[in-house]
């Protein structure tokens, strides 16, 4: 799933599939299989990811979607409460805005 910079605009569902795969890779399939991962899932509360796992996830997003999105820059404007409340839909919307 590395370096697949999309040539065409991806739908919300297509981006979700990619992000869900990244989450599974970061937290492990065994744990991910027991989770109901949806677009509304928050990383901290629902998916129980900790901060270093969010870093790993973030790096996968950056590598996959390339320089067309400034994912780290976007995250950097968030305070800790906003990071804790971040869900998949927030990221999907951001990626769609950048396409």
């Amino acid at each position: 799933m590395d370096h697949l910079t999309p040539a065409t605009r991806l739908s919300s569902d297509e981006i979700f599939v990619v992000l869900k795969q990244f989450i599974t890779e970061v937290i492990g399939a065994e744990f991910a299989d027991g989770l109901d991962i949806s677009k509304d899932s928050t990383f901290t509360r629902d998916l129980e990811m900790d901060s270093i796992e969010l870093v790993a996830f973030s790096e996968k997003v950056k590598q996959h979607f390339g320089t067309g999105i400034d994912f780290t820059g976007w995250l950097s404007n968030m305070d800790i409460d906003q990071l804790i409340a971040l869900n998949l839909n927030n990221i999907i919307q951001y990626i769609q805005q950048c396409q």
Binding site: I52, G73, I84
Partner: protein, 280 residues
């Protein structure tokens, strides 16, 4: 994830931002933590101007486990191996808490590799309660995170997150030489190298920090040091990430671009140099 392999066979996980910038700053996290303390806010701010390198100390984050070598000389040697692997001859360095001690030790042991130095909330290893404080700090950081999560979403930290944190504590405190390595550092502040540091040094502390006296002590010892205060306690990188980033950015600016010496960020509440005190 990018890693380098140390001569001890331990691997260090690192991240880079804005590779290719003229100057590099390396960020060193504290004990029981990982590079994420800088990754989301402080590092991107610094990356607008600098090549930023963040890494997980051995035994922490996504670096591999290691049961020995947590003394400051060993941790400084790890940092030099990272710089060598990345072909970085000279860098700015900013460390937080235990990471600040590593930054100071690296400047003492390898002065030619360091340009300017930022020590955020460096504790004094001599104080008997330092280890307890490190332990307490991490526990309180964990509690803060739980409180923040509770505030935002009405639920405490998950069992999995607590378990992962507990495993890290247990490994480092019970299965490694970390505690005895830190006890062996009790004379760290008295080593002559600290008094002879010639690097421009920013000491950054929280106004309510239990380590504040160490900041004042370092200010007296390091000839080119200045001490700046931010509202908060030992956790200022978490409590005030934007102000910490802004303060470091302001401090690192080329001298010709500075109006005076160091301009504290708009929200910092004060800066001291050995002979004077501004805006306290």
């Amino acid at each position: 994830m990018p890693v380098i392999k140390l001569t001890s066979n331990t691997t260090l996980h690192y991240q880079e931002m804005n590779r290719g910038a003229a100057e590099t700053i390396v960020l060193i996290h504290g004990m029981m933590s990982n590079l994420s303390v800088f990754y989301f806010n402080i590092a991107p701010m610094l990356a607008q101007r600098y090549h930023v390198v963040l890494y997980d100390l051995k035994g922490h984050g996504l670096s591999s486990k290691c049961t020995w070598g947590y003394h400051l000389q060993g941790m400084a040697a790890d940092l030099i191996q990272l710089l060598d692997a990345l072909h970085l001859r000279q860098v700015h360095v900013a460390g937080y808490s235990y990471g600040a001690l590593i930054a100071l030790q690296t400047a003492v042991s390898y002065p030619e590799r360091i340009q300017q130095l930022v020590a955020i909330e460096a504790p004094d290893p001599f104080e008997q309660q330092t280890l307890a404080r490190i332990d307490a700090y991490s526990k309180s950081a964990l509690l803060e995170q739980i409180a923040a999560a509770g505030k935002a979403q009405g639920k405490p930290m998950s069992k999995r997150q607590l378990e992962r944190n507990y495993n890290l504590y247990h490994f480092l405190l019970k299965q490694t030489t970390l505690q005895q390595d830190m006890l062996a550092e009790k004379d760290f502040m008295q080593q002559p190298g600290i008094d002879r540091l010639l690097h421009n040094t920013l000491l950054l502390y929280g106004t309510d920090s239990p380590c504040a006296s160490t900041g004042k002590q370092l200010l007296r010892k390091i000839p080119n040091a200045q001490l700046a205060w931010l509202a908060g306690d030992h956790h200022i990188p978490v409590q005030q990430p934007f102000q910490v980033g802004s303060s470091i950015n302001s401090f690192l600016q080329p001298r010709e671009n500075r109006i005076h010496h160091f301009q504290p960020s708009a929200t910092s509440i004060g800066v001291e140099t050995p002979g004077w005190n501004l805006a306290m």
